[in-house]
Symmetry: C2
Subunit: 120 residues, 2 copies
């Protein structure tokens, strides 16, 4: 049970934290975004697109060595969320990144918390 809502151990700090903490709705949005990257296949898709600009589904499936069905499922989530965009060239559909925040997140994690200096 949450404590009585009446007995914070450090009331000032609690008030301070309450004022600055990510709000419920924002946290939900942030978590939803991060959930997209919290899967190895999707993270690697973002990584691959970040590396070479754009790739079609079949080539992506070759790069990652996973089934095209899996790639397609993953791309659908990313596309719906606005993380990637696509263009069609004949029967081939090329995907590219549409949200610079995603590769940035991967870099921050990979580099261990240093968020300064961009793509090296």
């Amino acid at each position: 049970m949450p404590l009585d809502h009446e007995h914070p151990i450090d009331a000032a700090r609690v008030a301070d934290a309450r004022a600055q903490v990510l709000e419920r709705d924002d946290a939900e949005r942030v978590a939803a975004m991060l959930r997209l990257l919290a899967d190895p296949v999707r993270a690697r898709i973002v990584s691959a697109l970040h590396a070479v600009g754009e790739l079609c589904v079949g080539d992506l499936s070759l790069v990652l060595d996973v089934s095209d069905s899996t790639v397609s499922h993953a791309l659908r989530l990313l596309r719906t969320a606005g993380v990637v965009a696509n263009r069609r060239d004949g029967r081939v559909i090329y995907y590219r990144l549409a949200d610079p925040a995603m590769p940035a997140v991967l870099e921050v994690i990979a580099r261990g918390g240093d968020a300064s200096a961009g793509s090296g």
Copy 2:
């Protein structure tokens, strides 16, 4: 079905991507880290600790308005992963951030992809 592994549409780009893409193991690690933040409660815990430095479990439960059991469960995951550390003061246990990458990730997402300018 995956293509034949023999018919990339852009072989050069595939080779290029293969060389630069996040490897399977690394992707697994990155995804595991991000999964920790891909939950509203844990994201808010990181946010709160980032805001005020340290908080005990009970106060955290007040700040977030969730049960202390939920906070404790969440903290265990974060602690096991090295995201937070704690110190004991009597019966009260204070938690603080131990991995600067996590709040950095939250900021990158919140700011929409601008990864420059670090913490503070």
